[in-house]
Symmetry: C2
């Protein structure tokens, strides 16, 4: 295409210099990051995916500063884990407090001897519980959140099946107690977690069995023989009238597949797990209507519905939890929702009827970490005081429109612009080239799926940053298209 004429002259004339990176090495990563990467690899640590090293004391707001002194606009934020930017003044104050420091030093085993404040801290977590999920359980990370969510589902299903047979739900039979010690049925039942094609839920044995993102994540690792069901292939923009028609058909096809599968084997399936936006799989979206359908079908067949908000959670979609965009009633809410990443620690909210009674069934050494809850609590105050959800919606609109305009202007190079809030993505024909050219301009973005650029700015990402990013993105696309 002809690109001599910028389509949005105002965007290009605006002074965005205060939103610009500052680069000091001719290329990124610079020599110091490269040397550190080689040093790190030497020690045995996985370093193949390391992009740059960061100088945590120098980072500020939306800018990470790398080992070579480059000040880089961060739209990836440590795999979407930094909610209010780097070195926020209020967060600094928190970690300087004696109370916080004492929590750091005396890390409790929360299942045995919790800290004094733990019940109160748990109530704070409940203040952000999604509708209907009035109970919470903390863990350390996303994988452990999902692994334990699976256990909750298996316990619930086993209890239900025993009750169906006229037994007490928690009255294990002698055969169950003995066979489980040999990993044999009925004590270790042949039950599964159903997941969607391209879903990602972690890399431990249970969560990896539900992960369907990429072969390299899975090959050579034993997996449970768990079923998989198709996720709809949606065309973007989703509000395009023509796309609405075809997307609805596609979603119906996926819902029918799900219904067929559960009609055949719901007794062996404890739960279905789904991300509101399939993130590692390529930022795959579906409509609220689709998710409502999933809810109805799982309930009809007695299968628990787990929503995995490890990556989508805590505000980046413009709501605290992405599944709130589905607008379900309290009665129709999912049964359990897992969180981690931006929340600083893992865990899950759940409906009271899924509470696991008894001792040592959901348990591990640390069961979460109070310092992380203290950080999250302050993050929540900042989100509220700085009205960050409003900002995400506003800046997200700019980002989404910008991506759409880029896709229109570079139809051979870019496609499928999509997003909710600032949680955005676009497919790039030459993914690695685009990623690397952005990095050379001092902009760090993520990748996901087979060919998507994924944007995971922090919640304090401003209009100016978005405009600067879009301007630079356009400029490198002009370079690429001109070749």
């Amino acid at each position: 295409m002809l690109v001599d004429d910028a389509p949005n002259p105002q965007l290009f004339s605006e002074d965005l210099s205060s939103f610009a990176p500052t680069l000091v090495t001719p290329s990124i990563p610079g020599p110091r990051s490269l040397q550190l990467k080689s040093d790190l690899h030497e020690t045995g640590q996985q370093a193949a995916a390391v992009i740059i090293f960061n100088d945590h004391q120098q980072c500020q707001g939306n800018f990470t500063v790398d080992a070579d002194g480059n000040r880089i606009l961060d739209l990836f934020n440590h795999i979407a884990t930094i909610p209010v930017g780097y070195n926020h003044e209020r967060m600094k104050k928190l970690v300087q407090s004696e109370h916080f420091q004492s929590l750091v030093l005396n890390r409790p085993a929360l299942g045995v001897v919790p800290n004094l404040e733990f019940a109160q801290e748990s109530r704070t977590l409940l203040s952000i519980a999604p509708k209907g999920l009035t109970k919470v359980q903390t863990m350390l990370c996303g994988s452990s959140a999902n692994e334990n969510a699976f256990k909750v589902a298996h316990y619930w299903k086993a209890k239900m099946m025993r009750e169906k047979q006229g037994l007490g739900g928690d009255e294990f039979t002698q055969e169950e107690l003995e066979s489980c010690m040999l990993n044999e049925s009925p004590g270790s039942p042949n039950r599964s977690i159903l997941s969607f094609e391209m879903g990602f839920h972690g890399r431990t044995a249970g969560t990896l069995s539900a992960t369907r993102s990429k072969a390299i994540h899975k090959v050579d690792v034993p997996a449970f023989d768990w079923p998989v069901t198709p996720f709809p292939h949606i065309q973007h923009p989703m509000d395009d009238p023509q796309n609405i028609v075809s997307n609805t058909k596609e979603e119906d096809r996926a819902l029918a597949s799900l219904n067929d599968l559960l009609s055949q084997r719901s007794e062996s399936i404890s739960a279905l797990i789904v991300e509101p936006i399939l993130s590692e799989g390529g930022d795959l979206h579906a409509s609220p209507r689709f998710f409502k359908g999933v809810r109805d079908i799982t309930r009809k067949h007695g299968v628990m519905m787990i929503v995995d908000e490890v990556q989508t959670g805590l505000g980046a979609t413009g709501k605290l939890w992405a599944h709130e965009h589905w607008n379900l009633s309290e009665a129709d809410s999912p049964d359990l929702m897992t969180f981690a990443k931006k929340c600083q620690l893992g865990g899950y909210f759940f409906r009271p009827e899924f509470a696991v009674e008894g001792n040592m069934r959901i348990f591990n050494t640390w069961m979460g970490e109070p310092t992380k809850i203290a950080l999250l609590e302050e993050i929540l105050h900042i989100i509220e005081d700085e009205k960050l959800l409003d900002r995400v919606q506003h800046v997200g609109n700019i980002l989404q429109k910008g991506l759409q305009s880029l896709a229109e202007d570079f139809p051979n190079e870019l496609s499928q612009p999509r997003g909710q809030g600032t949680f955005c993505a676009i497919d790039a024909q030459q993914l690695d080239l685009v990623h690397s050219k952005l990095l050379q301009r001092g902009i760090l973005v993520g990748k996901c799926g087979s060919n998507a650029i994924r944007l995971r700015p922090s919640l304090i990402f401003e209009e100016g940053h978005a405009k600067f990013f879009l301007r630079e993105f356009r400029s490198i696309m002009e370079d690429i298209a001109a070749v």
Copy 2:
């Protein structure tokens, strides 16, 4: 027995008041801990196993202070996770430093954008690597350490099997890449991790499949069809000449079982995992000769040997790593050793030939946490400067002799006194009663297996604390025996 006459009058006359707890409520847990437990349960958090709540700012050294103000002598230390006691002055200084606080605030995704110091921190970890295991990989907790150790083993085995077939080790076949997306063989191979009866390795799907401690840990959760092999039933004290004869026979029986199993199906077994002392399973010991036998048999059959030092590691046995007591040569060392708990973060050391090359095969969001490495680094300095390994050996001798004397004096109530360093246990006929009576005296100990009292004092546990504990233990045993 007659207990009027104390067997060690010196112990009883010594002034140990400075090592004594200070109790302010008539019973423990006091009303505030009980109220908090009920509050915590209300929120959904697992609270059934909570003993007391602790007031982290008041705790000091070997004493935890509970929500009611009771100052309790802690021989359990948050499931063996507190290495240098509560609120150590040097640790306090560390967390007050700007550098540390900045690490807390800017938690990196270590696999993508690590902090500046991460290569150096990894070298610090390597300074405590056990013999032969010259590479390190960090994780967050013990379960993720073991889950990833299993993946290392599966990758290695799959590579070896491909090479046997004349293929490149990392040249996945198209069939493997496609079948793994359906959780089917050959991409998701039917390979296993072999573990010992009564072994405990975690509660996530993979590690739980290798865990054989208690039915309640396993029942209702799907498990891999992985094999199990008997652990020898050892009589204590192990240096008793009669016990040596019978224990040797018993160990030979277990080694023969292991050899038989691996002779039949070594191709489907990637690794064997074993704790140097089977901790959750009941503090079960075996001789160095036994572990040397395990090493020889696994190597003969091409099965990796993983040592799980999550609970035994970092000094409590009198050596930094418990398996160092086996005195194996560098060539005979295990292939991989996992750690967590006292180390503050999880991870593993491994032989260079088990390095996983390629991208995204060992990976997750955080891959450990730099603040925890910083804490560990200071802990290592304290261990060295305060000569804590010497202290553990000295105090451990007193503890072990004291337990032996108690077992001799209360043969109907206590048996099998055992330990290495201060990592000690003794079987109690009335386990819950003994545990509770100790707690009422202001002494917190752990339980493990079906009837063991387990002692997990911190490394700064002193002779006076040991003597005070033994005196109180004797006194409650006198009460119990008198009934």
